[in-house]
Symmetry: C2
Subunit: 363 residues, 2 copies
């Protein structure tokens, strides 16, 4: 998270995470989601807020989920099923179910397969938004496994040299357990930035840096500009990670393609830009560490590796070198204690939604 994206005290109310989880779960239930699923979906959103990944938390995503359940684009009670399976793989038709609810179940299948044969990989087609991808990858951690999650999302990102968006922000998340140190948790869009971060910047009325978006003709904008309202429909497109070709945008573009293939085409339900196709597909994988090497030795060595990274001498103007997942874990400690800062307009919307749906709102 860039510093300027933190909600300032003036605009924010601090909301307790447990209270928020219950409210969100109750909202889901009123929309037709079963109790267990509602709790799971709420947990995905609120853990995102707790970890400081505000772009994928309640403030940015819940409104979309509520709208989707109401207009029928999201199926609150999906009849999801495994449509193809091998000892190490499965492919799921999620029946337009919310990805944040189906993907943890897909990951549980992957974990079971990894226990049995070493590796488990599960694709989820006909899907909807899955929230913070790291949530699903992290589900492998208590099993001493490495977790991976990728998701193919609606198009917003240009190919290198292109003037029309052809890819989603297509994030890749990885979680790896350590012993005494924090787990390694990586979660990043293959674009320069997640589109939610631009909506978030717009709400805060701040500039976005160069290298994030291209103009309508596809020319990368390499200087800061005021944040557009959003990306889709604004005339801007997101740039692949790297920004322009000299800085390596062909790498972000290629990684975005990889996600579109693994989480999109491999499901059999199409890719992000496929006309008329559902625009979300997911991929999760669990790798048993024990299948490759000794678990205890591996986790001790992860500790050693993590401490080496953290002990790196910082560059001028910086205090610390972080291991991926460390800023989010530190934020989680803070927000579990002091609450989640939600923009007052978001809190008002939650209160209104609760009133409309006859859900108790304790804040």
């Amino acid at each position: 998270m860039l510093e300027q994206f933190k909600v300032t005290d003036k605009q924010a109310e601090l909301i307790n995470g447990d209270a928020l989880r219950i409210v969100v779960s109750n909202i889901f239930e009123k929309l037709g989601v079963q109790e267990d699923d509602a709790l799971l979906g709420a947990d995905v959103l609120v853990l995102s807020d707790l970890r400081g990944v505000d772009s994928h938390g309640v403030s940015n995503m819940l409104k979309h989920y509520v709208t989707g359940c109401r207009d029928g684009s999201i199926n609150p009670r999906p009849d999801w099923k495994v449509i193809r399976e091998t000892p190490s793989t499965a492919n799921i038709d999620s029946d337009r179910g919310l990805g944040s609810i189906i993907t943890p179940k897909a990951m549980d299948i992957a974990i079971d397969k990894a226990k049995a044969v070493g590796v488990g990989m599960v694709t989820v087609g006909n899907g909807r938004h899955l929230g913070m991808a790291a949530y699903h990858a992290m589900r492998a951690l208590p099993h001493d496994m490495i977790g991976v999650c990728m998701t193919s999302t609606p198009v917003a990102v240009l190919p290198t040299f292109g003037a029309e968006p052809r890819l989603g922000t297509n994030p890749i998340a990885v979680a790896v357990p350590a012993n005494k140190e924090l787990p390694f948790v990586f979660d990043a869009a293959t674009s320069s930035v997640a589109s939610n971060k631009i909506e978030f910047a717009h709400r805060l009325g701040i500039n976005i840096p160069g290298g994030w978006v291209a103009a309508q003709d596809g020319e990368p904008i390499m200087e800061p500009i005021p944040s557009p309202t959003d990306v889709l429909g604004s005339g801007y497109s997101l740039l692949p990670l790297g920004g322009d070709r000299e800085l390596g945008s062909h790498k972000g573009y290629g990684l975005g393609c990889f996600v579109d293939i693994m989480a999109g085409l491999l499901t059999g339900f199409g890719y992000g830009a496929k006309p008329g196709a559902p625009n979300f597909g997911h991929f999760v994988a669990a790798y048993s560490i024990d299948a490759f090497t000794d678990i205890g030795k591996f986790k001790d060595e992860m500790d050693e590796w993590s401490r080496m990274m953290q002990s790196t001498k910082p560059a001028p103007g910086h205090q610390r070198v972080y291991v991926p997942g460390q800023p989010e874990a530190e934020m989680e400690i803070e927000r579990r204690e002091f609450g989640i800062p939600l923009h007052s307009s978001v809190v008002d919307w939650i209160r209104d939604t609760c009133e409309e749906l006859s859900v108790d709102c304790p804040f």
Copy 2:
């Protein structure tokens, strides 16, 4: 490949790929490599040259391999073995064997496992340089599988905010079959650029762009500078993909960590920066498409996807949008017909080495 990195006619001799493969194979044999292995190792180097990936071909790599075989750091006749195995995984101790020779064998094991249970993943520890990572990923293509290859290499890359290199360039390669269109072939360092490209730029006496390297104090250099001789020992370090934090270098850094974990720590033979450890570890994986969806439908949809990408309207100043692997495949057609342009100093070195080792050199 950036245009300026092509060898110009004045400095180059055009060498036939088949002739070059035989010469390189014979050099390997004279260094103690068995005949089949020598041919395989030569094929990896020459395919790299044919595809225009000059940074990983004969001109940049053969000298290192010859030196390594002579000084004992590379074992020309390794007693490599699988040291742990499950139905979908294996871990290999490669006994200091050349990665370019052991990794194709590891990929064959992964392919066999994917045929049996859907997915195969093989790690290779105690390893040496594997050449062009895409070579190993592409080995899955004739089996209608998706191939992945990652390799953890000696440190040259800074963590975001760091002033000391902690990671290798740690490339990720992916190959995906299509039907009538070219396969998708992605192969990229998780740094802004592969270190070999800097040596190559230095040999040509040209500038490198901003965003590729940091100064000795860790400050990212965002303007073009004359190319240093190499990265290790020059005082410069490579930057992670993204360049600086605003442009997303934490993503390149995180991906580089992921490779270090999967191809390094997971082998049990250490990570790139581990003091005293062998500095190369490899990871290959094969995913059976049939394990997820119908192969024919998938490959037809890959064609449709590829044509969609290629038909993208170009941004100003560009003629075409490429699918990853397309420039290399087009270069291969050209170089198979007209030969591989090798810098005259490289050709002289090959001739000298042949004379020294009593190998016939037909050019």
